[in-house]
């Protein structure tokens, strides 16, 4: 129970900080963060319930119900971030090139 309220306290503080520091038009994404916090709080509040649910689906411990999807999500996120990074690099090159081609000039004024 103490752990559950520690998790709740930490989640409330972090959620409040993120709410204040995020632009109004981007706050919708915080709903995803709060859903995650709620899941961890519920797990800390009722570990036995999660253990039973985990046993029912055959993943062993209740905490694994959170960890396994998290690993899958993080792996996917890492790959997609890498792809996005390189796509952006390519776009930066295209932009730099367009500027360079547009400003190619007579060397007398180089």
């Amino acid at each position: 129970m103490i752990l559950a309220f520690l998790v709740l306290g930490l989640s409330v503080v972090m959620g409040a900080v993120d709410w204040v520091s995020t632009k109004r038009e981007s706050r919708r994404i915080l709903l995803l963060e709060y859903a995650g916090f709620t899941g961890v709080f519920l797990l800390a509040l009722n570990p036995d319930g999660f253990n039973r649910a985990a046993a029912a689906v055959g993943v062993g411990r209740g905490v694994d119900l959170i960890i396994y999807p998290l690993v899958v999500w993080l792996f996917r996120e890492a790959i997609l971030s890498r792809v996005r990074y390189h796509q952006q690099q390519r776009e930066i090159t295209r932009l730099v090139r367009a500027l360079a081609v547009g400003s190619a000039r007579d060397p007398k004024v180089y």
């Binding site: 792809v83 930066i92 090159t93 730099v96 090139r97 081609v101 000039r105 060397p107 007398k108 180089y110």
Partner: protein, 255 residues
Amino acid sequence: MALTTPAPAGTLALLVPAYNLQPWDRDFVERLGKAFSSLETDWRLKPALIFVDDGSSSPGTELPHHFARLAELGVQVVATRHEVNRGQGAALQTALEIARSPRVNADFFVTFDADGQHDPDDIGRLYEKLVTQRLNIVFGNRFEAVAAGGTGIPASRRGLLFLATAFERALTGLDLGDAHNGLRLFDRTAAGRIELTQDRMAHATEFKTLVRRNGLKYGEAPVRIRYSEESLQGGQRNSEALRILVDLLRGWWIR
């Protein structure tokens, strides 16, 4: 150099990417001017120089003098700058796009390093091979020049080049003897099919992959490389081989 077959008149553009180095010296520029003059006399080629400064923090102070001198010699010079450093491959592609544009409208294209390691007289040799053998692209081969008594290759480079050449042969299927030689000459057909996406040093391998993929006719000609302290520092270090490999793999996986 004897004119053995009637060569089409046209513009030959030298594509020169440079980053944080003092490109050439005055003697080199005179030699370059003389080589351009021979190309004009022997092959009726109008010379152009496309210079791309790849975001250098300190562009060469001698550059305005070099450009003015080449312009005096009748060379069309176009200079530009990447506002952010993007790598040699990216700068080369920029130079290529300028050379293909109506502003220059080049017929033949030469990739040429800015550190003075290439011999300007080799351009004519590459061109002669291209027109007499009706090729689309001719790659420089420093090993052939060494066999013919040319400039020696430092031992530190020899091992790496041997491995890189074997790797490139396996990857591209092109039967070429010198990996990552910066001196190449190609025609308009090849220029229209070359779009480099490898911004850094892996562009040399990508170049060959594009030649293979587009079914371009290719060959090799001996070229001399002058290894100076600057060219050894500015060129590809042995440690960069791994980075090139990673870039190639990334390019294959992420498009």
